[in-house]
Every structure is written in structure tokens, then in C-alpha cells.
């Protein structure tokens, strides 16, 4: 009897969780019709925001792979002085409010800073540009790839790596033929998380790149701008599109992992 009431309590709590996630999403559908949704999605402003978001977030995933995998490898495989500090630095952007991250980047890369001024002299303007969006998105999303890849590398049996080395393989050959294939699920997870985080990034992006329509207005910025200016239909259309992206990404990833595990 006690066991039954425990199960019931746990199920009720799970039900509350489901409501917490599903109800806000359903609410989005109540504010618009399919026709209006399609119409809004065809508008040049929304299309531009979608394209900017996709372009920047995909570049961010690529850059996160290039920068994140070596860092993840270092953290998983090596013992060195300052490892704890590097590990904490990886976690920091997750804990840091995106607005703070955006402000820090703005100060570092703005025209008044030495670095910003130097880059500007060479014709590289990062603030209020797509490059700024990419840097802001990368800053907040790269920890997801590093953490996921690091966990994947750490879970590989060390003797498997040693076996490769004793068979005459160099460290790079071992990395390429053993570590990467064995860590791929963790890396895929990291990529999905990074992409989702980059797509959904708002605070840091808007601080660094502003909200310039057709230039730096990403999907999340468009949602905010439209909602604030009373264009709820446009805001909802973009929000639903983001939702569909996220949902599809997760579904594709989960089915892929399932196929490989099977």
C-alpha cells in the first residue's frame, strides 16, 4: 500500500513536470492559426532572422568543434598544472548571466578598447555585425560541447588507447582512429546542445550585435523585438519555428543514438 502511494506521488510529480514543459509550448499554438503562421514565416524580416540564426549557429558549431575537442581531450586525458582552473573556465560561461557575458565582450571588442580599436584599424568590426553574433554565441555555447566530449573521452577504457600505442600507432593516429570514433556519440550530443544553445542565445548576442533588422537580428532577437512592439503573431511564428527546430534536432539525435546502440 505504501509502495502504491509512493508510486502515485512520483507519478504526480512527473505530471507537474510535463505540464511545466508542455503547457507553455501549447500556449504558443493558441495565439495563431496555420494560415497566419505561414504568412508570417514568408515575411522578409522573419526569413532574414531565420537565415542569420542558422548561418551563425552552424558556424558556431563548427568553431566549437575545432576549439572544443582539443580542450576536451586535454581535460580528459592529461594531468597538468592549472587543470582545475581550465575546468572551471569551461563551466564559467554556463553559470555567467548572458547579459554579463555580452557586456564583457562588448567592452573587450568595442571600438574604445585596444583590441577592438586594433581590429577596427584592420577593417574587422566585430560589434554590431554577424561576427559579433558568432563570438557571443560561441562564448555561451562552447562549454556544452567541451563537457560532453570530455565525458565521452573519459569514458574510454585507457587500455584501449594503450593497445593502439603498443601496436605502433602515434598519439594522433590513435586520436583519429580510436578516440574520435568511440567518443562520437558524446561529441554529437555536444554539437546538438551547442547548436540549440547558440540558436536560443539572446542576451549576449543582443548586447554585442544589437538588434539591426536584416543585419544582426537573429530569431530570438526577432521574437523579443516583435513581442515588445505588439507584433505577437510574428513573434509567435518565429518562436514556433525555433521550437520545431529544437524538437527535430532532439528527435534526429535520439533516433541516431538508438540505431547505433542497437
Amino acid at each position: 500500500m505504501k509502495s502504491l502511494s509512493f508510486d502515485l506521488t512520483v507519478s504526480l510529480i512527473a505530471g507537474i513536470f510535463v505540464c511545466l514543459i508542455v503547457l507553455p509550448m501549447l500556449a504558443l499554438f493558441t495565439t495563431t492559426s496555420l494560415g497566419e503562421l505561414v504568412c508570417q514565416l514568408k515575411s522578409p524580416l522573419v526569413l532574414s532572422a531565420v537565415l542569420i540564426s542558422l548561418e551563425t549557429s552552424l558556424i558556431v558549431v563548427f568553431l566549437a568543434l575545432c576549439l572544443g575537442i582539443p580542450v576536451a581531450y586535454l581535460l580528459a586525458m592529461k594531468d597538468f598544472k592549472g587543470k582545475e582552473i581550465l575546468d572551471t573556465l569551461v563551466d564559467l560561461p554556463i553559470c555567467m548571466p548572458p547579459l554579463v557575458a555580452g557586456l564583457a565582450l562588448l567592452i573587450l571588442l568595442g571600438g574604445n578598447s585596444e583590441l577592438g580599436g586594433m581590429l577596427s584599424n584592420h577593417g574587422i568590426d566585430l560589434i554590431f555585425s554577424k561576427k559579433g553574433i558568432i563570438i557571443a554565441q560561441l562564448f555561451v555555447s562552447i562549454p556544452f560541447l567541451i563537457k560532453s566530449a570530455r565525458d565521452a573521452f573519459e569514458s574510454i577504457n585507457k587500455n584501449i588507447i594503450n593497445a593502439s600505442l603498443t601496436l605502433g600507432a602515434s598519439k594522433f593516429y590513435t586520436f583519429k582512429t580510436i578516440l574520435l570514433p568511440l567518443a562520437k556519440n558524446g561529441i554529437y550530443t555536444g554539437m546538438i546542445m551547442t547548436w540549440a544553445r547558440a540558436l536560443g542565445e539572446f542576451g549576449a548576442t543582443s548586447m554585442v550585435a544589437g538588434c539591426i533588422p536584416f543585419r544582426t537580428e537573429t530569431m530570438t532577437v526577432a521574437i523579443y523585438q516583435n513581442a515588445m512592439s505588439g507584433e505577437l503573431a510574428a513573434s509567435t511564428a518565429v518562436a514556433l519555428l525555433l521550437l520545431v527546430f529544437s524538437f527535430t534536432l532532439l528527435l534526429v539525435f535520439k533516433s541516431r543514438v538508438k540505431v547505433q546502440a542497437g
Binding site: 577504457n157 605502433g168 600507432a169 570514433p181
Partner: protein
């Protein structure tokens, strides 16, 4: 190629695992590193492979100092305790891995992989992934993967510890015959004395980061040099004795194990470094002890000690009696007709007792030389 380890030391977090370890392994030899967990066996193997960097000392393979070479440059094959097969590759690709690293041409690679797969009797499993193999098949695949690169040294770290006894027996026999056929110098780590005796040309017993004894298996079992080795190879009867009389042919010693109410005197032949009053350990193999119900009046130089059987066990091959001789116990191989609590005479020849003195003691010549030292 032979291997020479000179003065190897290795510590982890201030804890010394290897302490100035010296070891010389001959070319073509099947050498077993035997010892308890934590004795330094796996670290020794790892240092040979270059997977662990020693704090001091040198490693030579075939006369060449490889101390500073990485594992991929040492031309070794390594079989790990957990097989360490690459889980995302088939058996064929696992075995071919080392050849692909060496950019061996495809037809030559295929020929060699198939040759070694059939040598270890898993040619039919070449398309399977590691998770589809049994423990024995995984071990065979790991062995083929290590052998296919034709290493100068084959290192094996407790490769059969996870196998059942039947599979272990067949893999062990195959391993021994393959090693003899190929003639590759092999270093095999185990804590199983039976494996060491059955496989090794020579056995090194490692304890606490040092080599306690290097010997052929039979010599190790019959003439252990230290109490640790004696206990590790399963010798139960170890007596603390002090010589009280020494002449040219034999010594009379007094057993002085803790708790002995009445010191017992026995006579011992074949002793190397006995000194009056200096305590030494003697071991006596259970099969060299016989139990009698009555004391022999004309026993010659036979040692006879009065005792009582306190326990009788069946060890599968026969019975073992544990006899209380007053303060200490002796194990004796017996026939089934002796009963627990029966009073007996423990009898053994003066030749049966072997001193754990760290030196061999065979003939009178040796004895005399040892006495002089």
C-alpha cells in the same frame, strides 16, 4: 630479443611501487612475473612497454636502450587483462590495426591477419565485433592482434584472469605452443602459481616492488629462497629454527615457533649458511611428510615428532592433515584412513627440510662453500 631492466624505480603519489628492480630476460624465453596484487608486476610490464615512465633506471631491448622511446617505437606486442579490443572494429580490423599503422599492403595484410586468426582458432569470427565474442575468443583475438605485427617482445598482463578454468586450460596450451613455435620473447604477468609453473621457462617472484627470486618453476617450488616465496607458491610448513649443533653432514636444529611449549630438535641435511644460534626458516613440503600411528624404534636418522591431527581436508587430489605438534602445526599429505583428533607421529627425512636462506644448497661441496662465506 632479450630484455634488461636495470635499477628501475617508480613511485605513485610518494608510494614506491618499484624499488631498484633488476631483471634480465633471455631471448626466446617465456618469463613469468608472479606475485600478489600490488607487488609491482603490472607496473614492471608497463615500464617495459613504455606506457609508464620510470622515475629512474633503464630498459634495454635486444641490447638497445629504449628507456626514452615511446610505446609505438618499441616493437612490442601487448595483451591486456581486459583484452582492450577496439569495440568499434571487427575482429579482422582489430587484428589488422597494427599492420594498417605500418602501411602494409592490403594483400599482405589480409594474408597475415588470416594466418594469425587461424593460428589462434578464430578465423570464423573475423567479421564479428568484440561484443559478439566469448571471453576466450576475445583473448584469442587480442593475442592475434599482438602477434600479427611480429613483435620482438610479447607482453601479457594477466590475460586469462577472466576466463573459466576449461577455457583457460585450452588457451594456455595454445599460447605455450604458439610461443614455442614463434620463439618470441614473452613476459607474462600472473598471480596464479599454477599458470606460472605450467607456462614459464623461468619465473620471477615480485614482492613489494622487488624481485624476490628468479628460478625455473620446479626449482622455485621445491627450493624457495624466502619465506614470502615459499608461502606464495603454497608451502604451508615453514618452521622457525635455530641450529644447535653443526657437523660436516648434518645440523641439529631446534624448532622455536611462537608458542611451542617444548622445543623439538630435528636433524637437517643440505644446509648452506647455518650458524649456531642464528634463527632461520625451514620449509617442508607436505608430500615429504608421512604420518605413523606408532613411533619407529629403529628409525635411523628419520625425524619423528609427536602430534595430533586437528583438521583433515580433501584438496581434490587427496587428503591433507593439519597436525598440531605443540605450538605450531604441520600440513601432511595423507591417505584417507587417518581421523581427526588421532594421535600420530610426524615423520620426515632429514633431506626433506629445506632452509629458506636465499641460497641454493645441493651437495656437500656447496654446503662447505656456503659455510665458509
Amino acid at each position: 630479443m632479450g630484455i634488461v631492466l636495470k635499477e628501475i624505480s617508480k613511485s605513485y603519489d610518494g608510494r614506491a611501487v618499484l624499488k631498484n628492480l633488476n631483471l634480465e630476460i633471455n631471448q626466446g624465453e617465456f618469463h613469468v612475473l608472479l606475485g600478489p596484487s600490488g607487488g609491482g608486476k603490472t607496473t614492471t610490464l608497463s615500464v617495459m612497454a613504455g606506457l609508464t615512465e620510470q622515475d629512474s633506471g633503464s630498459v634495454s631491448i635486444g641490447g638497445l636502450d629504449v628507456s626514452n622511446l615511446s610505446p609505438d617505437k618499441r616493437r612490442i606486442g601487448f595483451v591486456f587483462q581486459d583484452h582492450a579490443l577496439f569495440p568499434h572494429l571487427t575482429v579482422f580490423d582489430n587484428v589488422a590495426y597494427g599492420l594498417r599503422v605500418r602501411r602494409v599492403k592490403v594483400h599482405e595484410m589480409t594474408r597475415r591477419v588470416e594466418y594469425y586468426l587461424s593460428k589462434v582458432s578464430i578465423a570464423k569470427e573475423k567479421g564479428k565485433f568484440p561484443h559478439q565474442l566469448s571471453g576466450g575468443q576475445k583473448q584469442r583475438a587480442a593475442l592475434a592482434r599482438a602477434l600479427v605485427i611480429e613483435p620482438e617482445i610479447l607482453l601479457m598482463d594477466e590475460p586469462m584472469s577472466s576466463l573459466d578454468s576449461m577455457t583457460k586450460e585450452s588457451v594456455r596450451d595454445e599460447l605455450k605452443s604458439i610461443q614455442q613455435e614463434i620463439g618470441v620473447t614473452t613476459v607474462y604477468v600472473t598471480h596464479d602459481q599454477n599458470e606460472a609453473i605450467l607456462l614459464g621457462d623461468r619465473v620471477s617472484v615480485l614482492n613489494n616492488g622487488r624481485v624476490e627470486q628468479i628460478e625455473s618453476p620446479s626449482e622455485l617450488f621445491h627450493h624457495p629462497k624466502t619465506e614470502f616465496v615459499a608461502r606464495f607458491v603454497g608451502i604451508k610448513n615453514i618452521l622457525k629454527v635455530s641450529p644447535i649443533r653443526i657437523n660436516n653432514h648434518e645440523a641439529t636444529v631446534q624448532i622455536n615457533n611462537d608458542g611451542m611449549e617444548h622445543p623439538i630438535r630435528i636433524r637437517v641435511k643440505k644446509y648452506p649458511i647455518f650458524e649456531k644460534g642464528k634463527e632461520i626458516d625451514l620449509c617442508i613440503h607436505p608430500e615429504k611428510i608421512t604420518l605413523k600411528r606408532e613411533e619407529k624404534t629403529y628409525a635411523g636418522d628419520l625425524n619423528q615428532i609427536r602430534g595430533k591431527i586437528v583438521k583433515r581436508t580433501n584438496n581434490g587430489n587427496g587428503f591433507m592433515a593439519i597436525v598440531d605438534i605443540g605450538g605450531t602445526t604441520l600440513h601432511a599429505s595423507i591417505s584417507s584412513d587417518f581421523k581427526v583428533r588421532e594421535n600420530v607421529w610426524v615423520c620426515f627425512d632429514p633431506d626433506a627440510a629445506h632452509p629458506l636462506c636465499g641460497k641454493k644448497c645441493r651437495a656437500a661441496e656447496t654446503k662447505r662453500r656456503c659455510l665458509k662465506e
